[in-house]
Amino acid sequence: MNVPTMAEMTAQGIQPDVLFWVGCAGSFDDRAKKITKAFVKILNKANVNFAVLGTEESCTGDPAKRAGNEFLFQMQAMTNIEVLNAYEVKKIVTACPHCFNTLKNEYPELGGKYEVLHHTEFLKSLFDEGKITIEGGKFKGKRITFHDPCYLGRANDIYEAPRLLIEKLEAELVEMKRCKTNGLCCGAGGAQMFKDAEKGDKEINVERTEEALDTKPNIIATGCPFCNTMITDGIKAKNQEHVEVLDIAELIANAEDL
């Protein structure tokens, strides 16, 4: 696996075409690290000229901003923007919809203006350009349902890219009752990931997982490391571990046996 850093590339005088923003979950969470690696394998396979920030990356500030801590958010944002601008970054891709939303929508006003793509959009463009193809149809006949991450879907109106990728797998895409603009949150957004839920009669992730299971899927696909955690927990709570919870990047990497 080839993972160059911006520092290394710059030392060699190479300007990468795109920065892969790994994010905190993708860097530290054991489950999300697998998504990171799957995505990197695809980037390697497609010969994408990319780099990561590595130890120079820091939290975008998303959970702080959603929790109401605008100070901490802006401190994080401005520090990150200094690093990104110093490397003259033009294009960013990330596998986390929260990083994606923050970098894309909330950094420009603070001086960080980049073209920001969610990894499903980026993967779709790799397909469109013929840089990756899927042969054999390992997922042929599998029922896959896609859970729309709120910060990808309603927050940024991206619904089609992940679905087109699932269709490329020749899998059967089955929709949940609440999907796309009506999609139900997994329960992690707005900094909920980092705290217990308020008193209620049910956990949101269980509600969502039940809905996903109603489609009788073999795989529940997501495009967000936090949704992945929440739905994986939901699957455990329902004792339905035969249903896999996978990121779109993992589906494609698996299909290609990367």
Binding site: V3, T5, V22, C24, S27, F28, K33, K37, G54, T55, E57, S58, C59, G61, P63, A64, K65, R66, A67, G68, N69, E70, F71, L72, Q74, Q76, M78, T79, N101, K104, N105, E106, E109, L110, C150, R154, A155, N156, D157, T181, N182, G183, L184, C185, A188, G189, G190, A191, M193, F194, K195, D196, A197, E198, K199, G200, D201, K202, E203, I204
Partner: protein
């Protein structure tokens, strides 16, 4: 000639419209208590939004049954109001059906009004059945007890009575019925009066005519006290709605200035504030005057349909939070502040605020910021922005975040991640 009728009518008209104007001014004043926010950009997009969402009802039909019934009531409301113009002219000048000089076209108009009135009546009855017999859950949430429930029913009854009076008024107008043009519905009601004497029918006609117009004046003034204001405010509300991506939260300029100063290596750490410096701005919102005027207009526009709450993941799973209640409580507090100003000439501290006295922190912290409520609202109300402004106050002014969130934020400050991992380990995954 006897002018008593005309004078009585003119007085009613002046009182009806006068009170409405007076109360409308209060609403505008209350909305202006909010902070400024610039929504003067992109007039073309804004106008299109208003045409599509408010006038075209595009978001209403996301729920097709309620949506189509609502379009019937809405179309009926707008079109039948042409008839009100005739009633006003007749009332003021003592004419009778002054527009009938239009001949065949008049018959066509009145005929259309009758069909619409009948459809509106039927739709409103179905609305009542949905609310009271089928008991659709979003009409029965905890915040819908008492006045909100009665308010909704009052509106339905008002519309039933007004539409019935319109049809009875036509049915008992002998001259109109004898023409037998433009009476597709009322001709069947007229049969009921065939055996009644001419005088009785005439009295019923006059009574229905008067009650109908008086009812309209009362309804117009009822709006101020009711959730029904959306019939007017839906238009400015969609025009001034947020056009940026839903995921983009506002940037706090005051914070930006301070953060820039903190990060500026040449800034003097011991600098005293200038003598004439304004007191530091309050971060976030704890009361209605800390919100912006669009958020306050949102509160007046909310018609408590509950689509937001029915879609909210927190509400669905039994949490205290309901986005509709956020809007209702904001309006309740705003009206309380308005009444305070009416009484005292200016706002006198009443020891209350929106936060805690109306909206609890338990509600605010249950939000996942998923934007389902924003997406659902048929008139583009944004409850999420209010929740975030209240969170900002709790966190930045009061350091009152839940303990686990404080830990998360401490981690971000110390090691650049919401968990306790060393920033130097960020690339370890590469070799694992």
């Amino acid at each position: 000639m006897n002018y008593i009728d005309n004078i009585a009518f003119a007085i009613l008209l002046i009182i009806g419209i006068g009170f409405f104007v007076k109360n409308s001014k209060k609403i505008v004043r209350n909305i202006k208590l909010g902070k400024s926010i610039d929504r003067s950009d992109l007039p073309k997009e804004r106008f299109q939004n208003m045409l599509k969402i408010a006038f075209g009802q595009s978001k209403m039909v996301k729920r097709p049954i309620a949506g189509i019934l609502h379009i019937i009531v809405y179309a009926g409301f707008i079109i039948i109001n042409i008839e009100v113009l005739e009633i006003i002219i007749d009332g003021l000048f003592g004419t009778h059906r002054v527009f009938s000089v239009l001949g065949g076209f008049y018959s066509f108009l009145i005929g259309s009004f009758e069909i619409l009135a009948f459809l509106v009546l039927a739709s409103v009855i179905i609305f009542w059945i949905r609310r009271m017999v089928l008991q659709i859950p979003r009409f029965w949430n905890k915040e819908m007890k008492g006045w909100p429930k009665n308010d909704a029913l009052n509106i339905l009854y008002f519309e039933m009575v007004l539409m019935s009076l319109f049809l009875i008024m036509n049915a008992t107008d002998n001259h109109f019925q004898n023409l037998n043009l433009g009476n597709p519905i009322s001709q069947y009601i007229a049969i009921l009066f065939h055996d009644s004497s001419f005088i009785v029918v005439n009295i019923i006609e006059r009574t229905a005519w008067w009650l109908h117009i008086i009812g309209i004046f009362i309804f117009l003034n009822y709006l101020y006290y009711s959730k029904h204001l959306h019939i007017l405010l839906a238009f400015p509300n969609t025009y001034f709605a947020n056009l940026k991506p839903n995921g983009q939260f506002t940037n706090l300029e005051a914070v930006t200035n301070e953060v820039k100063l903190m990060m500026d290596p040449s800034a003097d750490p011991y600098a005293a504030p200038a003598d004439n410096a304004a007191p530091p701005e309050k971060f976030g919102a704890s009361d209605v005057a800390d919100l912006n005027w669009v958020q306050l207009m949102n509160a007046y526009t909310c018609t408590e349909c509950g689509r937001c709450t029915a879609a909210c993941p927190a509400s669905i799973t039994g949490k205290e939070l309901s986005p509709r209640a956020i809007m209702m409580k904001t309006r309740d507090r705003l009206e309380e502040v308005g009444a305070n100003i009416d009484k005292n000439g200016k706002f006198i501290d009443d020891g209350k605020q929106l936060l805690n006295d109306y909206i609890t922190s338990e509600e605010i912290w249950a939000c996942t910021s998923c934007n389902a409520c924003v997406e659902e609202c048929p008139v583009n109300i944004d409850p999420l922005s209010i929740i975030i402004d209240l969170r900002r106050y709790l966190v930045m002014e009061q350091s009152a975040a839940p303990q686990e969130l404080n830990s998360m934020m401490t981690n971000i400050e110390n090691n650049g991640a919401p968990w306790q991992y060393n920033q130097m380990d960020r690339l370890n995954w590469k070799d694992e």
